[in-house]
Amino acid sequence: MTTELKSKRYAAADVAHAIEVAFEKGWTDGLPVVPPTEGAVRAMLDGAGLEPEQQIAFITNRQVAVTAEKVAINAVMAGCKPEYMPVVVAAVEGIGDPRWGYHGPATSTGGAGVLMIVNGPLARALDFNSGDNLFGPGWRANATVGRAVRLVMRNVVGTLPGKLDRGTLGHSGKYSYVIAENEAESPWIPLHVERGCRPEQSAVTVMAAMAPHQVYNQLSSTAAGLLTTLCDAMRYPGMAGQPNYCVVLAGEHMRTIAADGWSKADIRQYVFEHTKNTVAHFKRTGRIPGAVKPEDESTPRPLVTAPDDVLVVAAGGRAGTFSCYIPGWGSRTSSQAVTVVIKDRRS
């Protein structure tokens, strides 16, 4: 590859100094970054078969073109291996999709993170964690791919905390929020296949998302029993009309639900039906304006518009009677989950 890299260059005495320069320039998420040297950036571009000037996304509200060169620089800084680059690129394509609606979830006081769910053969080949300590630290792919996307948001699109990222509280998923589905052990159709991809394809699904909420049930031995607990936990704190919820079913719960013969479609339908609140509940708890009318007591209001808005993912440790749900951010008209095929552009 001989195309010139056009980014401005800064001199640093050594690696330690380069790390400090990155802090001083305001380029980091608060943690040290890997110095983005030309060699490392070129290796990152080669990892995805991209030329530096290729546009990965255009963020309309900011009038910012996100080029492969800038994505590669930020991926190096995040600590990615070059082979992760196609996943980072797909995630950036996802948050640049008008359906994801960058401006709202990136800027809102609601403080959403970008939940990224990786599916397909690449998830296993690149060792994305889909098991123990699913949302926790310890896996380079999970930790650095999400970090790279956040650094792109910060450095390329200008989503700076306190400026164009106005999250009131935010959450730790805004550092990195990447999981893979446990397709090897899951009895169900993988998420990306449900959303239109072929099983042999790899894909990343991006969802504007709040933090995960853990749900515990050690007693039930049936699908309905476990999902009753999950729905009870989801229902009352639920908002009125979010675009998506993600339900992550870990090993023991996954096996119990599957043993009852339930498909993901069955789970979605059950969750949709059993997480409805009444309009009266939303009014009493200050989520919908207005006085409670008699008919509000019997007027149901679902958490999401349709069962398909619930993303069901099999992931998490094999042991432990826990699962979780993740509320989406905003409304259906402001941000929807988007699934992007991870492309191999290397010829």
Binding site: S7, A12, P35, E38, Q63, I73, N74, H103, S334
Partner: protein, 92 residues
């Protein structure tokens, strides 16, 4: 060693502002409501003040699709044709 800058400058856009009117007397006021709770009431009140205290002729309110997006084309087109001044903002 040399390191590469991970940031970009936003693309420059020429923006031409319409001159502000010297007075609101007799002007038609457009109000763009961003769907947040109470933003319609706030804008309605602002419209009343502009009529009562500044002599504006009339007000008209539009509602955006949601608070995260710019005013849609229908609002822009109707505002161009039907009002002299627009009041917009983010209520949260």
């Amino acid at each position: 060693m040399e390191i590469l800058d991970p940031t970009v400058e936003p693309r420059q856009q020429p923006l031409t502002f319409v001159p502000r009117p010297d007075s609101l007397k007799g002007k038609r006021i457009g109000l763009v409501e961003n769907t947040k709770f109470n933003s319609d009431k706030l804008l309605f009140k602002i419209g009343e003040i502009l009529k009562d205290e500044y002599g504006a002729a009339e007000t008209r309110m539009w509602r955006k699709h949601n608070s995260s997006v710019p005013a849609h084309d229908e609002i822009i087109d109707e505002a161009k044709r039907g009002v002299d001044v627009v009041v917009a903002g983010v209520g949260d």
